[in-house]
């Protein structure tokens, strides 16, 4: 660990900043877990609680902004201090977005709880579990801090993208099979998209941790796996008819 600052208050402020991010990360992690549980268990009550938790996350982002603004103005940080402060600001923003997506998942969980069950939910839950694992890893990578862990988490985002691709196709198939599935499947499609976005923000955090520690950008292109923008699925009946 690096030495203490001569001005001890600066260290205390940096500690507070790190602690706030860690706390915020914990809240987001819980929110993602709850939102997924609400989907899996068709639990409207949990879904509503999960939506309310977002207020607290937003408040913490405000706190991080206020802290960083104050430190930039009063401490004129450079080098690793500057990187740590900028990193906290960026990570807080990423976490806030992740919270918003989790809230959206929870909203859809409320809707889904009142709709007939669709088989694709299992796939969504698996995707959520994987995403939760990545969130946990990037938050650990920030807290320790551990660059290797950040890089590993960064590359794992591809798995989420791949799951999203297959879910996309699966959901379209369900919709084609029975139009009564369309409402639930559309909600699930958005849920999957939200989870995929949460994963993207988690990888942004991994990149920020890398920059904070190394002072350089994470090199090379991250393997991108989301190909749904180009996906075309033809209904089986149409195939038979032709």
């Amino acid at each position: 660990m690096v030495d203490q600052h001569i001005v001890r208050q600066f260290d205390e402020e940096l500690d507070e900043l790190r602690a706030t991010i860690a706390q915020m990360g914990g809240l987001v992690e819980q929110q993602v877990v709850d939102a997924m549980a609400a989907i899996a268990r068709r639990d409207d009550l949990l879904a509503r609680r999960c939506q309310e938790a977002d207020v607290e996350i937003d408040a913490m982002e405000d706190k991080v902004e206020a802290l960083t603004l104050r430190m930039l103005a009063l401490r004129q940080p450079v080098a690793l201090d500057l990187r740590a402060i900028l990193a906290a600001l960026k990570i807080a923003h990423n976490l806030e977005r992740m919270g918003d997506y989790a809230k959206n998942v929870a909203k859809r969980a409320s809707a889904l709880a009142h709709l007939p069950e669709v088989g694709a939910v299992n796939g969504i839950v698996r995707m959520g579990r994987l995403t939760h694992g990545i969130i946990k890893d990037v938050l650990d990578a920030y807290a320790e801090p551990n660059v290797d862990k950040a890089v590993t988490a960064w590359t794992r985002d591809q798995e989420i993208d791949q799951m999203y691709n297959s879910l996309f196709r699966e959901l379209l198939t369900y919709m084609m099979e029975d139009p009564r599935n369309i409402t639930a499947c559309t909600h699930l499609l958005f849920v999957a998209k939200n989870i995929e976005r949460i994963g993207d923000h988690a990888t942004n955090i991994a990149e920020t941790v890398y920059f904070q520690e190394k002072g350089t950008r994470l090199q090379g292109m991250r393997p991108k796996g989301d190909r749904t923008s180009y996906a075309v699925v033809t209904p089986p009946e149409a195939d038979e008819a032709s």
Binding site: V2, D3, Q4, H5, I6, V7, F10, Q76, P77, V78, A79, L80, D81, L82, R83, G215, T216
Partner: protein, 284 residues
């Protein structure tokens, strides 16, 4: 000149030359900037005290190079080597090679007065001569015989004061004593005096430490303008100032040149732990 001043620039073995491989402390070439001053294996001794140790540093032309470090780190000592100001200090010995445009400035045949006309200096405390504003600026051109007649001299004084950003404030009182100006104006007068002899390099030893923030901002703005025509080396205790005015920054500690690089790199991502510790305020 002090007898104690010994120069071993032509000594064989340890003296690095321009052709030697670049030591790790020296950052790789920054763009296409030409090297104005090339210092290799510079050592300074005050009596037995080894004040500056094996310093290799390139000063790029038309750039501002900031020398930073805690008190007693050797940054001012190094600055004073660049126009042989250390010659006048008893017991001070400079060993190594410093080349200005490839010519060794410690060559015994070199005229030190001429050198100091090429490498001017501005000090921490504004030190105008107890003469008029005009005579302060005209002093250098007069003793170096730069002006051929009164009109020439007027022109030089006027232009120097203009370049130093002072002309508007003093044009109607050139005969008033320079010491009657404010601190910031006096410092700009000293800069005008330094540039009146048309030097190639200007050395500045904490030029703003006795000035208020507004006068400091004026000098910093001036430094940035001056680098178009001059090469500037500045010693400063204000890291923010180094960050604001310089293109390259060199960090000294306990007589060692610890790290030198592009200012942006030094202040965002320094390579050496000691640099990091100093600029972030972690030095015990």
């Amino acid at each position: 000149m002090s007898d104690a001043t010994q120069i071993a620039a032509s000594a064989p073995a340890p003296v690095a030359t321009a052709e030697s491989p670049q030591p790790t402390a020296v950052a790789p070439g920054t763009g296409a900037a030409a090297i104005k001053i090339l210092a290799r294996d510079v050592n300074v001794f005050y009596g037995d005290k080894h004040a500056l140790k094996h310093v290799d540093l390139d000063i790029n032309e038309h750039q501002v190079t900031a020398l930073i470090g805690p008190s007693g780190c050797g940054k001012s000592t190094f600055l004073r080597c660049l126009n042989r100001m250390n010659d006048v200090i008893d017991g001070c010995r400079v060993v190594g090679s410093i080349k200005l445009d490839k010519a060794d400035i410690y060559d015994t045949s070199l005229d030190v007065v001429q050198l100091r006309a090429r490498v001017g200096m501005v000090f921490q405390k504004p030190n105008p001569f107890p003469k008029s504003i005009y005579d302060n600026v005209a002093y250098g051109p007069r003793i170096h015989g730069i002006a051929h007649n009164k009109a020439d001299l007027d022109e030089i004084v006027h232009r120097s004061l203009e370049r130093a950003g002072l002309i508007k404030e003093v044009h109607d009182r050139l005969d008033s004593p320079g010491t009657g100006l404010s601190g910031g104006q006096q410092q700009r007068l000293c800069i005008a005096r330094a540039i009146a002899v048309n030097p190639e390099v200007i050395l500045m030893d904490e030029p703003c430490s006795a000035l208020d923030p507004i006068a400091t901002a004026r000098i910093e703005e001036l430094i940035d303008e001056l680098r178009e025509n001059f090469t500037i080396v500045i010693v400063t205790h204000s890291m923010q100032q180094a960050a604001r005015v310089s293109q390259r920054t060199a960090f000294f500690h306990l007589g060692d040149l610890v790290e030198v690089g592009d200012t942006e790199q030094i202040f965002t991502n320094p390579k050496d732990g000691r640099t990091q510790g100093y600029i972030t305020g972690r030095f015990g």
